[in-house]
Symmetry: C2
Subunit: 597 residues, 2 copies
């Protein structure tokens, strides 16, 4: 393990050998003793899972997979090369990495998600997470630690590699393994301290961890960064630096010593259980709202999610103590065993969703749209993981009213559009919400659904169809002199503006842009061309939202463009009054169109 | 306190009276006994500070300020009204709220920032933070708890209102005050449990907290949500619900009882110390780089920050264990007493910056651009707080190379543009970096500086001037047939593309868009009009970045537009090879211009 780590990072000319050396025994013991894993079938859900939370230590993990037979050992020399899946931090470009890590402190949440999935499925597998010590400063670790013990997840085992050094200096606590142990214990874990370079001790600890019941288990490993190489061991300033070619490399390899004589070849034991057949999902039923239904899209989200849960056995719902506001409680009522209450800890909620998605679940996680900003790093990393999870952000925009700006999602579209591979959906009534929840479940990757607080009437019949990247033209004529594009509450305003303008003899086109990413370029371009003026209206800040998405779509279509968005800092007040104050209501839209014509 | 809370929320028709009732004694005891505060001069830096982390409990805090003489008690009836500064969650529209809260779990970091400022200034003031129990599930709380004890902040006192209920159900731990105490103790705090409805006990606890030395202090208060109103007390399902007008209101007020007969009027004691004069800042000196300087903008950031620190006594630098990568270590070397190492905890770092800014410091916080996503909620709330702090994100884009996508900032421009009141700056060489650091210090509010990893030569002379909202036209002629807009590494590519195209007889304009928000609309529109083709190039995902900012600026200028950005998921590889793979190098730019002409 050590030789591979040193050689591959030296060959790459970059990387983190010293952090590999601190966990070489831990990884060896874990892989070739504790882990139950079918190396040739890495995606088998019966496998134990391993998450490398300290992602920069990946060279030693690639080495372990190579020694386990996943790929030829010679591949290790391609570390960090542009055509190799052996990246500088784990990504699922390698089949042996379920998720991307490298933004520290996220692995325990992901592992918790995998452990929750295993328990939901009645599997007896375990999830191992290796963390560094520097990353234990990340609050997300403690969010995961809390929920894991609260749920009694004894299939989750954390191995803490306490090697004393961060990137730029020593950690806060150095070799104080007792402190780490006390903290995890106070967070409800069973813990023990082990010499992280004593293989027999590690094996015994792993046995105790596997035998433990009722709580998650933390093995606090006392280690040395750079262990085994004298010029690197327990010294600062070696973080992220490969050993130079030549004398130093020779010295390092000599000090590590000759290859071990193994009594038998290294193997990873496969799992020995069979999984119960999961029924295939059925199609999402059509919505069935009465024509006079009057409800918020957040309410329709709840009912749609419950419907989806009925036909799709792998759907799981998560919430961050807002389930009575996001209406995910409708799913909880029907499927309590598939609901994960994450309490007020959005980072952990999204991390769990990433973990659930990585092992085949279809997680829907909801909270206020604004609070998803709390988990933006986890969402971003979910993009790098090419993860499959769905997010619902409720209470978007100033239309929520008197709770004030801290509770208003006004940058969520910008945030979610910028995530690699994401889709962004924005329903305007109960029917579209229902349909878009179904589409989200079918669409691989990260799908964001933005819901609103105010109640509105229906725009659509129950049989209206929707599709990813689509839109609906709701008002259209050959005489249209402008196009209004809205979604959510502003679609209703646009429809009302149509009436105001029609009364004055001005016809306009109205488009429901329910799919903001991907976007229906064709319909938007046609409307721009035919009407010559496009006005977008959104309950969102002006940067990066619906307006910018439309502008990108029509950039090269000759037309006049005007963006209406929330340009000031909102405040408490009645939702309707705030919409008026920030100019996103029908009268302002109509006035704007008139003044531009 | 209780009556005001009930009456004002009933009058508003919304709000959180039950959470006010659990902390009425805590707030009373704190304000009218422990706090040293000049009510008529709320911004006086000698004042103790109070941060309401459980922002939804603000009605009882507005009540306390009113009773303390900050404003007439009758103002409380304007709670949540659109023209009142008494919002549903605290915002600095009221002079008695230093910062906005309402996204839970952020108050302790902000308070820690204020406590650090007081200590830097040698003041003997204290910072009190009132938290709920539900919000202790947020990891950011534990990040702050760690650093506060690590730094021995005995001027920071947390009061934990353990009222047992979150929004949608009971908290994880109910009334288990011992568990909270153990956790804070294991995180290095001195703690005690107190009956949160026993005023004498609270006063004694506050005395002990004020007398404590060497550690932060946590008062774990055992309370009842809805205390004092029988139909609300200790019951679920009253979160965020006002008492209805009529019989229930009458009953509630009757149960709370008649007004107290006070021996003397309620007063808040003012602070009694004088602050040492802070020297006025001098002007940032001009940069002084040799013409052949070859360095990364991240390096220039470090040297500029150190220069700024020399002339500006209120500048403070923060980092998240990346100071040897962001080069904020240059500031640390010169001014260790004004540097805050936050370790790997970006949420807490930004929260501290908000707190520092709220009491007059000018904080510059740096980490990799991608890791600022971890603190997006804190940054967003900083916008609501109208806070004054500066962020530097290094290692942007694919140009960082082989560390791979987890370490690449590719959505940071989108994220930062969407923050209310933010400025976004993006230097391309050492001179511009130096100038933009100076501009950031002078510009109120949130200013983001994006720096790059690769070393580059200088684009500018040392005497070149820069300004917020400006740009530089680096190549220009009357025969220009296209405009290239770049910043950072892509500006260098655009300049090289100019050469390639010039060799083929094609002249193009080249604009350095060093200020992405605000943006130089005039120069961009003129270029679009005069050249008829605008091509933007950015080391960022296509959504919400430099390209979208330019597109918004030229939306109504007739021209052709083309966006070059990172459209795929990056990977490990040499930085230069990745820039080529994702088409943001000079040859692709030149080819694109040729094909479009």
């Amino acid at each position: 393990m050590r030789k591979h780590s040193i050689i591959s990072t030296t060959e790459a000319g970059s990387g983190h050998p010293s952090t590999c050396l601190s966990c070489a025994e831990l990884i060896s013991a874990l892989f070739f003793y504790a882990l139950r894993f079918d190396v040739q079938n890495p995606k088998d859900v019966l496998n134990d899972r391993f998450v490398l939370s300290k992602g920069h230590g990946v060279p030693v993990v690639w080495a372990a997979w190579a020694e386990a037979g996943a790929f030829p050992v010679s591949e290790l020399l391609n570390l960090r090369k542009i055509d190799s899946p052996l990246e500088g931090h784990p990504t699922p470009r390698s089949a042996w990495a379920d998720v991307a890590t490298g933004s520290l402190g996220q692995g325990l949440s992901i592992g918790l998600g995998m452990a929750i999935s295993a328990r939901m499925d009645g599997q007896d597998s375990r999830v191992y997470v290796l963390t560094g010590d520097g990353e234990l400063a990340e609050g997300s670790v403690w969010e995961a630690a809390m929920l894991a013990s609260h749920r009694g997840m004894d299939n989750l085992i954390a191995i803490l590699d306490i090697n004393r050094y961060g990137q730029s200096e020593g950690t806060m606590y150095g070799a104080d393994t007792t402190l780490y142990e006390e903290r995890f214990r106070s967070f409800g874990w069973t813990t023990e301290i082990v010499d992280g370079h004593d293989v027999s001790a590690i094996l015994a600890a792993l046995d105790r961890a596997r035998a433990n019941r009722g709580t998650p288990y933390a093995i606090v490993a006392d280690t040395r960064k750079g262990k085994g190489v004298s010029f690197m061991e327990d010294l600062d300033d070696w973080h992220g630096k490969p050993v130079p070619q030549g004398e130093m490399l020779e010295q390092a390899l000599a000090e590590i010593g000759t290859d071990l004589e193994l009594a038998e070849p290294l193997t990873v034991r496969p799992p020995d259980r069979k999984r119960a057949e999961v029924p295939a999902p059925a199609a999402m039923p059509a919505p069935d709202f009465p024509a006079d239904a009057h409800l918020a899209t957040r309410q329709a989200y709840g009912s749609a999610l419950a419907e989806l849960g009925r036909v799709h056995p792998e759907v799981v719902a998560l919430d961050g103590d807002t389930k009575n506001s996001t209406y995910s409680q409708e799913f909880l009522k029907k499927f309590p065993e598939r609901f994960v209450e994450c309490f007020i800890a959005e980072q952990n909620m999204v991390g769990i969703a990433v973990g659930l998605g990585a092992v085949g679940k279809i997680p829907f996680a909801s909270t206020f749209a604004c609070f998803l900003t709390r988990a933006y790093d986890q969402i971003r990393m979910g993009g790098v993981s090419q993860a499959n999870f769905k997010l619902c952000g409720s209470h978007c925009g100033v239309s929520i009213g008197s709770d004030g700006p801290s509770q208003m999602g006004l940058e969520d579209i910008a945030m979610m559009r910028a995530v690699h591979g994401s889709s962004v959906l924005y329903p305007s009534d109960a029917v579209s919400t229902h349909r878009l929840v179904g589409i989200a479940a079918e669409t691989p990757g990260i799908v964001y659904i933005r819901t609103s607080r105010p109640k509105t009437g229906l725009v659509y019949n129950n049989d209206t169809e929707f599709h990813l990247g689509g839109s609906h033209v709701l008002r259209s004529s050959k005489a249209d002199r402008a196009t209004l594009v809205g979604a959510g509450v502003t679609l209703h305003e646009a429809l009302q503006a149509f009436n105001i303008l029609a009364d004055q003899g001005i016809l306009v086109r109205v488009i429901d842009l329910y799919s903001i990413k991907p976007i229906d370029e064709k319909t938007l371009q046609q409307a721009a061309r035919e009407t010559g003026l496009v006005v977008t209206v959104e309950d969102h800040y002006p940067e990066g939202g619906l307006g910018d998405a439309v502008l990108s779509a029509i950039a090269n279509t000759p037309c006049h463009y005007h963006k209406i968005a929330v340009t000031g800092l909102p405040r408490s007040g009645p939702g309707r009054a705030l919409m008026q104050m920030f100019g996103i209501t029908a009268d302002t839209i109509a006035d704007t169109v008139e003044s531009l014509l």
